[in-house]
Symmetry: C2
């Protein structure tokens, strides 16, 4: 409080919001390994101890960053879609978000109960609107959420092992090489789909899985 009233405040003062924002920038540009309290302090032009006045520890910071990104992704889903399309929109929205921020995928199965709950609620509401029997709603929402989580983790790992500006074609060719290196007698299925792997689209495959679960839910009513 100054003689100018409530408004005046250093616009660059430290706050939880600014810290989370800076953390997201570091995570996006340099990856999970680059987020240290020292790097964060340097970017915010402060001491590393100062951060602890606004954030209790690193896990909480990562949860807050994840929550911020997931909230933004869920908010982008149009409200007037048919239930099944809304589920697809939520799923694809999360897929694209994790594609953009791979660290979110890795983070999503740790502490951030709140981010997960937001996803679960968004999907559950549409499942009810879809007319899935009451007794199957919980299991159905759980199945979809877990599937999305599994893909998220997988994608995060792919992005991590690929590095930032990697050539996707070269990457896939390398995975195909790894797959076909295994004994064909012990891995017949892997060999038979290795060719499809080369020119499949992750996003399409993800959506095919969503549709598979939606089709399964459809058989319940």
């Amino acid at each position: 409080m100054s003689r100018w009233g409530v408004a005046e405040r250093r616009t660059d003062a430290l706050s939880k919001e600014r810290i989370v924002e800076a953390a997201i920038e570091i995570l996006d540009t340099d990856g999970e390994g680059a987020l240290t309290f020292r790097a964060l302090a340097a970017r915010l032009a402060t001491g590393s101890g100062a951060i602890y006045h606004h954030v209790p520890d690193k896990n909480t910071l990562l949860a807050a960053a994840t929550d911020s990104i997931v909230t933004r992704a869920m908010a982008g889903v149009a409200g007037d879609l048919a239930p099944a399309d809304a589920i697809r929109a939520i799923a694809v929205g999360l897929f694209d978000t994790i594609d953009e921020h791979p660290w979110v995928g890795a983070q999503l199965h740790r502490h951030p109960r709140s981010a997960l709950l937001r996803i679960f609620e968004g999907i559950g509401g549409r499942i009810r609107a879809l007319g899935v029997p009451e007794a199957a709603q919980f299991n159905s929402a759980s199945a979809l959420t877990n599937y999305i989580l599994g893909v998220a983790a997988q994608n995060a790992e792919n992005a991590r092992s690929q590095g930032a500006g990697a050539d996707r074609t070269a990457f896939l060719a390398d995975v195909v090489r790894q797959w076909t290196r295994n004994d064909p007698a012990r891995y017949p299925f892997v060999h038979s789909v290795a060719a499809q792997l080369r020119d499949h689209d992750d996003r399409e495959q993800f959506l095919a899985g969503i549709d598979l679960i939606l089709a399964g839910m459809d058989t319940l009513s």
Copy 2:
């Protein structure tokens, strides 16, 4: 090589197998956070640097430990089951294994391509036997694998946040409390299933998800 021939060797000599075995013991009894090269060296009665003669780094060690557990789990699936039952057996086998070794769930989406590939092959083979159209086999195997992965991660996190000898009823009551603490107007679905959460069974819910995906696959042929 001694004058006794090839056979003689100290049975307690360090080896990759003994290191992986000791790592699994530490992970099982004291959790992921307890696995350090210093703790491992102490348990093996050696110096921390000695481990690097048999294992290149910690990530490789964790991948080898995960691979060892997953291989054991997949080997336990009976060979004479009908395809759909075999898929259920693989899935439940992995579920129970991760229940017993929660760190495997957390580890499964990182490096161990080989563990993942083993699961993918096991499931893919049965999908083909199931008569799923050729064009849908890759996506179906991918969906099931990703779903299993998602549940694995979720379960690992639950086990971690529960601690070892925790009371499950008390834990669930606490989750219900967290769920219902949110605004009912913003989280109607979460509130409506909170009661079911209290006495649901994780294993049954997991299997219900598998059956949902199997039912979806059934609509394709």
